[in-house]
Symmetry: C2
Subunit: 481 residues, 2 copies
């Protein structure tokens, strides 16, 4: 199957057979219709494909994959197209078929008594959240892109987000999976059980595999009781160390109900005030670091606020916290969240940026910030550090913006040097070079450098075992397309 | 490698080389010394081995496996020997080497600020719990056998236990793993991170694989703040449906802090009173079903008890709860727990028993109990049903004891018929035929019948990819030794 002419024939044959299977209406071939499927969210990649197939059932996904596997044609699964790493964008060669999952978008089952729901891959995350809310339940995965990202993509990339400090990442919220394997067979592990020790856990192979081992078509998701008490606070702290000490105290004071714990540097607040909203800063004065913290309880609990306030007073007395404000209304809460969520937009408007989605053990976060900041500034001394993120998980978006009057191109030209400096320090701290955004196309080379050789070898063995023809999202995650 | 004489030579060579590697003192070969390693906890199996190797470092485990892989000699990993399914017992042929992990028992790292600790496989679970307590943390895995089981075995069997309703099962408590692969390579995924999306999640392959893919030598485990408020209550309810309604209400009233929710039938209370402790029944009167419920909070929270009491009063008024008692002292709490934990002993003293460790979706539990009870009694009409367990997880020990004056042998002879009847109903409810005890040797045939063929095929592919010579715990989980 290495002859080029033969390869073209096989691709044409696959396209033709899939058009027959799904019908013309569900097969996009015109360039204008295909375009949204071949450019990634960050516009880092522009791919090409002869066909976007839009199956609406698991059986159709199965039939499409069986054809592609038989003919050795690559398949790129495509959800809400919110990957930060080009994970859902085909290569420019145009020899892969895109499988869009958006028509596979039913909530198959909603079971509040079992605290579970079964959603198909193409369900938009916000719709899953709303389905849970409709029966007084919470589906706790919360992402900036929740209005457009799809649950299949969330699971395939093991999305993290804003509430992982309490609820875990996407893989922690999955009870069961339905997956179409590379050869079209349907792996039905769509159980809604809390305990099931019957052999190898196959769910976790596909969760986070970015579509390289099969296509997740449906999942049974874990729900929780809806929160009835939510307290949101914004605090100024001297440094990341003080932030972590505060986190530890609030975990105890709240009964381990801290659901969000975000760290923001002064630079992020200033960028948002300058570029997005001049009144975004909720506190007077200039402070080096800030924390956005949310505590949620399923219980209707007026005593929770008092318990947190008491702990906060102690933290103020101890000098851990310099200033703090509670949201006392819905709009105030939204304003605090908007400040946090406006940082990417503010960075975009502030010119070129360099971004690193990394994690370290939570306790190592202050030392990591100090070391990595110095190392990055040694490469680009006039850059603005915009290090923010999910400190409660040890997950930082270790970002830099170009200096106020700096040259974008010169700044970006130092990108790989900055990255190497930062990731080497991540390695020293036994951290992760991709905490929540995955690998996709963007970080394949870094994965090869920073992942251990034994782990890489085991990954290749598994890829070979489950996708021997190499048709599933070729060249994503593993580097050897 | 199929010639029998050659096989004997290879086994002898492996034994000799391993004795050289570890030293005579760490190699058990005398029958009396070997005996505890070849008989399982339930005495269902009596195996044989020429050698129990006792490595004390990961490097030694690696060296042992490299030898066995080279020579094609089977290896049986052995922890605290508490498997209910013969998972750690060698076959009777005597052609496998047992690798005992008990000397690999260091706590390598204790990091309260990161809420994590790193323990080697041979650490006894209770010692891990104590290490966490020593720094004001909780390691929440709680099992009846915690005084002797080892963490490596807990993880390899994905143990469940008494607190899974809140904290999840063993696999939910693992941040990172160190594993020696079949060929002796060391897979170092021993990170203590909350977020790490760098390729396939290899941890979850080994968690629950019962030593058939490699040997877990160390794990980074998730800790939580130590509970400061614990409320324990025992309630009489009319039926499993009322129990589940109570669970839902208590989850909300407690802020989702229900950590244990056990269901007990009247028969279990009567068996414990008759065979273990005549004063075990904490409530007057005769009630069909009981619930043992514990609520824990990391917060020092006097209002929690009042909130639960209020909900309990409402449940009494609504007729959901018939009677209830709170533990008001440590000894009272212990007595309630002892009642629950004495059930296996009481069943043992009551004569022959038939046991099924199954799970169904939590909401299906009442219907399952009704259907399975009828089906079991249709086979053994005079048996005593002793259906109890972790109702909050949908996990029941669906057990039967022989009639008071029944014949053990006649009763046991119906075992496979009862099992088939029960497991067929489990399948109808999309449940699990082994919720927390795993497969081992005991349930291989059932796995083959009840697991889907695609899942079985994928499991075999993974086994072949990671252990091509088939040396890791041969004939466990998968049936084709």
């Amino acid at each position: 199957m290495t002859n080029t002419a033969d390869k073209g024939d096989r691709l044409a044959s696959a396209v033709s057979r899939i058009r027959g299977l799904l019908g013309e209406a569900n097969c996009l071939v015109e360039p204008a219709a295909v375009e949204p499927y071949v450019v990634d969210f960050r516009r880092l990649y522009h791919g090409s494909t002869p066909l976007v197939a839009l199956p609406s059932t698991t059986a159709e996904v199965s039939a499409v994959l069986a054809v592609c596997n038989e003919l050795g044609v690559g398949v790129v699964p495509h959800g809400g197209n919110t990957s930060y790493c080009g994970g859902a964008t085909p290569h420019a060669a145009g020899d892969e078929i895109v499988v869009g999952l958006r028509r596979l978008n039913r909530i198959r089952e909603l079971d509040p008594a079992n605290h579970s729901l079964v959603a198909e891959a193409g369900c938009v995350l916000a719709d899953v959240q709303r389905a849970a809310e409709s029966v007084e339940r919470l589906f706790p995965l919360a992402l900036g892109s929740e209005g457009s990202c799809q649950i299949g993509g969330n699971l395939s990339t093991n999305a993290g987000g804003l509430a992982a400090v309490k609820y875990g990442v996407a893989r922690d919220l999955v009870l069961g999976l339905e997956v179409v394997l590379a050869d079209g067979r349907v792996l039905d592990e769509l159980k809604s059980l809390r305990k099931d020790n019957t052999g190898y856990d196959l769910r976790h192979l596909f969760l986070g595999a970015e579509g390289t081992l099969g296509i997740i078509t449906a999942a049974s998701l874990k729900l929780l009781p809806r929160p009835r008490t939510i307290e949101t606070l914004f605090a100024a702290v001297a440094d990341p160390e003080a932030a972590l000490e505060l986190l530890g105290r609030l975990r105890v004071a709240s009964g381990d109900d801290v659901t969000t714990f975000e760290l923001l540097p002064r630079s992020a607040v200033e960028l948002v005030c300058e570029h997005v909203n001049p009144t975004a800063d909720p506190l007077g004065g200039t402070h080096a670091w800030y924390v956005l913290c949310e505590v949620s309880s399923a219980r209707d609990d007026p005593s929770l606020r008092a318990a947190i306030e008491l702990e906060l007073e102690r933290a103020l007395e101890a000098g851990l916290v310099i200033d703090a404000v509670f949201a006392t209304s819905g709009p105030q809460r939204e304003a605090l969240w908007r400040l946090r969520e406006s940082i990417p937009e503010a960075q975009r408007r502030a010119g070129a940026s360099l971004k690193h989605d990394v994690s370290v053990p939570v306790a190592s976060l202050p030392a990591f910030v100090a070391r990595a900041s110095a190392a990055a500034l040694a490469v680009v001394p006039d850059a603005r550090l915009v290090t923010y993120g999910h400190a409660g998980d040890g997950n930082l978006h270790f970002n830099l913006s170009v200096a106020r009057d700096g040259d974008d191109a010169l700044f970006l030209a130092r990108g790989s040097d900055v990255e190497a400096a930062v990731l080497d320090i991540v390695r020293e701290f036994r951290g992760s070079i991709s905490a929540e955004h995955g690998i996709g196309q963007l970080k394949r080379a870094q994965l090869k450098s920073y992942k251990g050789p034994v782990a890489l070898s085991v990954m290749h063995s598994i890829k070979q075992a489950l996708d021997p023809n190499g048709i599933m999202n070729p060249g994503k995650v593993l580097a050897d397309r």
